[in-house]
Symmetry: C2
Subunit: 371 residues, 2 copies
């Protein structure tokens, strides 16, 4: 792996996943700058990069900790020096509950979510058996996906967790996944704030009941800068802000209705042209195996008219009317991917690039951690 240090990104064997380090550093700072005037912190979701080394950069830049979707992802982070991990998903089965308690026993910075009464009792029993007090947040339902229903069911669950002797109630989370990709800033903000009304009511109920509301976590890259208006809200779970991708670019931002330019795309796939037999058509070595999906299309840097389709396992298919130059077989291209999270999940390493050269190699230790 070290053999690639110092190499030009244009000479990497392809497909290769790269992150531009200066751009990454810009994005790492930018989210905190944008939120400076608010009381809102950042608890980045690691499913975006799946790399403990990158999580540590986020924490060094001011993040209050990180989020992880799954137990195995949480394990990878904690076991590799990331001290504060909030697991946004629930642990339901006996196997997962036992492992979650082992993890909490080893790492005091592990917090897990609960969204139903039976599960709270199961966690209590396991925490007691493990001889620990486990930290728990209550996940509240926004989009009929995960979470306890808002209002009195949420309050009752929070009070139960607070009362159970081997659980410690730390607050709430609520994730509005669908609204993250709503097109247009103003429309997105209206929907996001409306969707959060029942969550805010639940928060107020809990606060009035005297519960510990130290964590009120939610939101993502699409709504990170809207949450200052939510009373008691503590931190956004943004992930994609770090890398950006074609999906997030097209939603528009507060500064630019057409393209979300709060953050700058830093993640790219280096690919090679392997066939140019047909006019206005180029074939690359990067299909579904390398860029995951093809909507919206991957963006070829420097070639605004190129349309990149990646719906074949092995091949990327580019069609165009206009091209800045003639391409021959063997030429490299650099593309911004449609959706960063699943693409990262296809690779074992991300090359950290500065001034077009490999400066470091990030291991994607959370790759495939879906359990």
């Amino acid at each position: 792996m070290h053999s690639s240090i110092g190499k030009s990104k244009w000479e990497l064997d392809t497909p290769a996943l790269c992150v531009d380090l200066s751009t990454l550093e810009h994005n790492l700072k930018k989210i905190h700058t944008e939120l400076r005037e608010t009381n809102v912190g950042v608890r980045p979701h690691v499913k975006t990069h799946k790399s403990p080394a990158i999580a540590k950069l986020q924490i060094a830049a001011g993040a209050v900790g990180v989020c992880a979707g799954k137990l195995t992802e949480s394990e990878v982070m904690l076991e590799n020096g990331v001290n504060d991990v909030l697991m946004t998903g629930v642990n339901i089965t006996a196997t997962k509950i036992r492992r979650a308690m082992e993890l909490r026993k080893k790492f005091t910075g592990f917090i897990q979510a609960v969204d139903n009464v039976k599960n709270a009792h199961d966690l209590q029993d396991a925490a007691k058996a493990a001889g620990i007090i486990a930290d728990v947040v209550v996940d509240i339902d926004v989009i009929k996906r995960s979470g306890v229903l808002p209002g009195s069911p949420a309050l009752a669950l929070a009070q139960l967790v607070d009362k159970l002797p081997n659980l410690k109630f730390r607050g709430i989370l609520a994730y509005d996944g669908i609204v993250q990709h709503h097109m247009g800033y103003a429309e997105r903000k209206k929907t996001a704030l409306r969707n959060f009304e029942p969550i805010v009511e639940s928060y107020e109920l809990m606060k009035r009941a005297g519960l510990n509301m130290e964590i009120f976590s939610g939101a993502g890259t699409g709504t990170y800068n809207m949450m200052g208006q939510i009373p008691g809200f503590t931190d956004v779970q943004a992930g994609s802000y770090l890398f950006m991708d074609a999906q997030y670019m097209e939603i528009g931002g507060v500064h630019n209705e057409k393209v979300m330019d709060d953050f700058t795309p830093s993640l790219t796939v280096m690919t090679t042209i392997i066939n140019n037999n047909h006019p206005n058509r180029l074939i690359t070595d990067s299909g579904t195996k390398a860029v995951s999906i093809d909507t919206p299309n991957a963006i070829v840097i420097g070639e605004p008219d190129f349309k990149y389709i990646a719906n074949s396992d092995e091949y990327g298919i580019i069609t165009f009317n206009e091209s800045s130059r003639t391409y021959k077989v063997g030429d490299p291209l650099e593309v911004i991917v449609p959706h960063c999270d699943p693409v990262v999940n296809l690779y074992d390493v991300i090359y950290g690039i500065r001034n077009e050269k490999v400066e470091t190699v990030f291991e994607v230790l959370g790759r495939g951690k879906s359990q």
Copy 2:
């Protein structure tokens, strides 16, 4: 890993990728039975399973060798005891060509594809430098993706390869990727045979020129039983026949216009229900990270009315009007995936199940091998 042997599939930590061994064995035999009356052999594409152990089962069942899409995939197969690998993609860059020659030097059963004149000369130079004679097939263009143009360009390239002293011309391949998923057997057959006409002409030109036509490879699970009509055709590159998936089931087969039932679905994902708060709606722990994509929908075994959407990283969302029973949080479900290849690429192991118990564990050593 061995700790899971003997466990019930219903007790595996989820998401878990499973293959039913009896069904796998049925499919392994079935393709040869279906092709018994023809001169067509089987050279299965390993991108479907990415497991050397499963490739060996295919060869034991009568396959003439296997296909691999990429160089790294070919390396994994050859280095793990799969002796005959035809790499269907081209090696263009200096790095890949050097590695391909090293591979050929170690393993005499490695054959690679070429689709342009410059590349043939590059391969010749590298083979000479490595002190070997490298086995090469010419890939011919069917769907404007990979391959040299059919007719005289294909003939000229084949003659060049045949003439170059460090290359050995072994024949041709042509893969009609798009037609594999055409709906309806009769329509698909018409299109497949029409698309192959220029390839057959190229074959005839080469044969008349006295070239060695020992390999004429192509086709997949959608067209495997149509190629007996193609003169000189030697082997089908079917992969999905082993596992099947929702995409291939819906195309219809020769025996059943509605569902392709030549082969039986053997690959499933075990998942757990984690939320049932809303009527006619269940949430599972298997989203994009576990089942890859959601079209056509994953099929929940035993629940024909369930519609499974997997467009969220962490969660599967099931909606339904009718259900065979009531489901509670923690209950497992078993689903047939939309498209087997990219799903396998998400996992490190496939559990081999017999009579609902884990009998063996296949390592997905080709996972992530996109270079």
